[in-house]
Symmetry: D3
Subunit: 249 residues, 6 copies
């Protein structure tokens, strides 16, 4: 693995001439409330952890983590920072544009925050329209983990969660000193369209929500059920899966 920021321009020039050219791994996270027990940068920590491991496996180049994302659904809880959709999208476009000019055409975004997914999706479509010869992947960690997580979880199955069993388990592996397990609790809000988190309807509709309106703690789910063991299994699974998909590409 090479660290993009630690390279000289001459090293970048060489790398971009290699055959095959190395992939660029771009971790994207968020700074947003993650309940009373997890740090604001939980998504960035997880994204960076996975990105480092994937970069290692694939001998790729790791770009510095973009630590702030699109988190307007978590405002109202102190600490949450968010770019607008337009600023966040422009950031991605401009970074990829310069990588492209430097000679890199395979960019793998590893995203730790579900709320970033939509903007990443529309943004990579926009970039692809301009540069049809680019390869752009956007992995959102929860999407990669979901099937395996649903097999393992102790909490009831649900589509969506935040600061929950999954994220807390992963953090117990990566940065256990930042997890205040004593402050975990379980919140299962009913979402605006009167749909409980267990309902299959959650796959059928998107609705605008704010954690501040549906939770007290900022938690959606049951982080109290988190274990380091599950965290390790899921992180391994996510890292393996991303590496496998990208390697085949």
């Amino acid at each position: 693995m090479l660290n993009y920021g630690n390279l000289t321009w001459t090293a970048v020039e060489e790398a971009a001439k290699a055959d095959p050219k190395p992939r660029i791994i771009l971790p994207v996270g968020s700074i947003e409330q993650h309940g009373p027990h997890l740090p604001l940068n939980t998504d960035s920590i997880i994204a960076e952890h996975v990105a480092v491991a994937v970069s290692d496996k694939l001998s790729s180049i790791l770009f510095p983590t973009l630590s702030v994302g699109f988190s307007l659904e978590h405002t109202g809880f102190p600490g949450t920072i968010s770019f607008t959709a337009q600023t966040f999208s422009s950031m991605i476009i401009e970074i990829v544009e310069h990588l492209y000019v430097s000679g890199f055409k395979k960019i793998i975004i590893i995203n730790g925050h579900g709320g970033n997914r939509a903007i990443l999706d529309s943004t990579i479509t926009t970039i692809k329209h301009t540069h049809p010869d680019i390869q752009l992947y956007a992995f959102t960690i929860i999407d990669v983990a979901k099937e395996r997580y649903n097999e393992l979880r102790k909490s009831s199955q649900q589509m969506i969660g935040h600061a929950d069993e999954l994220e807390t388990s992963m953090m117990l592996v990566i940065r256990p000193e930042l997890v205040e397990m004593g402050r975990t609790l379980s919140e299962k809000p009913t979402f605006p369209p009167n749909v409980s988190l267990e309902s299959d309807d959650l796959a059928r509709v998107t609705y605008a929500w704010k954690t501040k309106q549906v939770t007290q703690s900022g938690i959606i789910g049951s982080p109290n059920l988190a274990t380091r063991e599950m965290g390790r299994i899921l992180l391994d699974y996510v890292i393996e899966t991303i590496s496998r998909i990208v390697e085949n590409g």
Copy 2:
């Protein structure tokens, strides 16, 4: 059902004072290539058809269909029209803003084009941040139909399709005279990361693609297997499901 455009301003004023206030149903489609057998406005036709039926069921107010969406992934095929992400998002924000000022706080977007989903998702989050007392739903028809479709389809199961068995079946119900069944064929492209359409990996990663690069015809799937019967079942299912979810909300 009331047709928003056909109301006078005095009728809008009355409607906005009703208890409960009527919901606004906003159909969103696209103008983009749909293979050699379906019209450019397939997504708009389906979205409008569903929106009319839902408006009827829920005694809601139907807003005029936004017929152009975000379709950059289909450029290269003549006829495709697309707004940029920013213009499309601004359109939604500005329409909802004026509806809000007129007194409407429950807005149901019914979207016929998968490529619009991401922008709608981030846009409704942005609006909710400004107006926390608004209720915004975004239904993408393929998401609503998926589970039921997977039970019924004759084509092999896949995450994604375009101008396929699903859309063609629905069009055979709504506008059969616009479907050229004789020109249907089956295309199953392999997507950039070497993932076949049958792979579960399709749920784990988003990648930038262009139909022009992976298909000859613009079709992804097997529209040749479409039937009017399936179209009817799925449209009924979609209309029922959206109405049920919204009604509970």
Copy 3:
């Protein structure tokens, strides 16, 4: 006449190769208050009606109507929806850009709302600067009709009107069931610079105004004098005139 949305991409491809290439007719309207007697989408209905007829006469391709325009002067009356100038202009630019890429270089905008005229004018200048080989026309229906209308009208002559004898007469032809003639009345506001509607000064100055500040009903003019007969004469005249000008072009 061909309906753009109803074409397949292969049909668009063929059309764009024809000699001469068909023109694209793009109707643009508004959703805004039109007094207590006319529907919000009056401008869209009239623009679409004219556009259909012109498309027929000229064997052109009819694009779907853009039903929302720039209507900030009518806010304050419930129901009015407006894009910002920038969003509305971007919509036009992006649609025309994709039509141009698809091979169409003659675009005829048929506009039903006076308030859109200014943005259309500056926008087509911007597009022409980018693509000097494009032909872009913007017809605003009131401008086309004016001379003939002034010969026929029973109301006193005036520069500007809204939901007036002209629009009401046309609607009595196109959608009589949407006209509540019993609610018509006559309002002749004095505009901010103390200029009555009969004054020639109305051709010499533009001033910012809001219907909400100068009318009770939203009407400017005398829709009570409208007749179906005048509507038919004027619609015929508008359709003939646009067709003649475009055909010579």
Copy 4:
């Protein structure tokens, strides 16, 4: 007349407290080709001349002339400078916004360039929407002069002109040393839709055009017929008319 730029902030403060508050006169011009015989800043010179005189008559405050406008239709001729529509509109909005905050609510724009008219029109509508208590007038000099000009002109009547009998006559009064009468000539282009300049159709349609495509010299009209006498009559008429309309307001 007071010159806005020459005031101290304490003088502005006093002026904004006067009863009635003085009006602000804002001249807007352009830097664009004006044929081989008139300078690039013809529109700015004429607008400023009229604005000074109107400010004097009405004891108003004269704002510095905005010398660059929206002139994309004249690019291709060296020397033409143009803002984009968005930049030009933002300039007007931001200037008026600060004038409003300083206490001024009557703003009179005196515009020397026909190509600016459309943007000024939509921009003042936008400002009025934000600040309903503002009074905004936009005078375009050709519109004010037209009727009188048509009575006096030696050239054949036409809707539109550029660097023509009207502008040249006015310049012969204001800055005769900048007029190269020996280089005047007469050009009467046929416009894209095959409409001659004498046709009434010019009032019925707007079409995108570039002077570079329809003229050799950049002239549209007959500046060779210009006289200082007509310039004086028309300038007096324009100044009187604007002053009269504003004074009544």
Copy 5:
């Protein structure tokens, strides 16, 4: 010296073909409070005066002064007008872009307002990125004068000033009738980080400030010490220095 606005397009064409091509001198000022004794347009007057003299010395072409700049730090005092950073930057980019297209590649910005400096700096970097063959200089008059001013001034040395000994002295030369010496006074605010104006720390940090918060009069410095003699020396020095640097370029 040629005055850009006074040229015909044919004269611009010739000038752009000359060898060497003439430079374009672009004066930029501001409309903002300058204490109780100096006019709002002080910066524009000084910038234009210097620009005229430099244009004369270098046989350059003088562009019309941009009289409004970026002055948000002076809002709160009546009369201050400011563009946003984005509008101001776009104005510069668009003007230079059209000059470039007309054939001019050496552009000298002469800026009279310290608050414009930052935007000019980032803007010329942006333009240079697009057009590497352009030569763009941005002189801010206070920067050019500083060393010489510090030798001559009677006021205590300081990094920053506004409506101070320097500007007042220059205005006593250029437009003495606009200087109300009887209203001058001396204000030496302590800036937010408790740094006096004499401190060397002023070169080490930038902090956001508003004159309204740190002064009563809008003055920062000692304009009461201004003399016409110093104004003349400094203006001569500035004009000589700019001309010398540009001439060598």
Copy 6:
């Protein structure tokens, strides 16, 4: 020192209620060519190092480093990444806006890249205009170090440098393993206006330049003269100076 990202939202809430409220330290760097001997993220590394130390000294809260800045002057060398001025400015505005909403009103930006300075300066002025009660400081490390550096340096004095004695010395302290001293060399370009780096004129003019046009290596200066000792002295000085200024504020 607290690490912003590592806090829970409840900890942020408490911190924002403390008296006095802690300051937020925001490090800003760049990813750009730094010659053949220093890594792309040199500016980010130095900014973060200083920010950590200042946060420690002042018991402040350290925000995650923004690792990409505005570096268009270094494009052409592979590896350089740059946001546009608008995106970079929006990022700062949006982060500060959310910090402000969370209760923090003292924000200290520590910037490692000279090319970011201009945008930071205009951006904090914009923010201050919106929130007059905020305290915003922007330190650019070269500005803080300059006087002391000029006393110590072995290279000839110059205004500007890049990947030079200063930056290389600092990197020898912070990340010596990333410095390839064997590849250092000395380049002293003459800048576009024929001004050598030793000239005092460098303080009198800003001109647009690109390192690609004036250097071979990307170096401006003499990094071969760098020493770890000087790096330590200067870093200590910078950290002390920033802390002292902020503490007094």
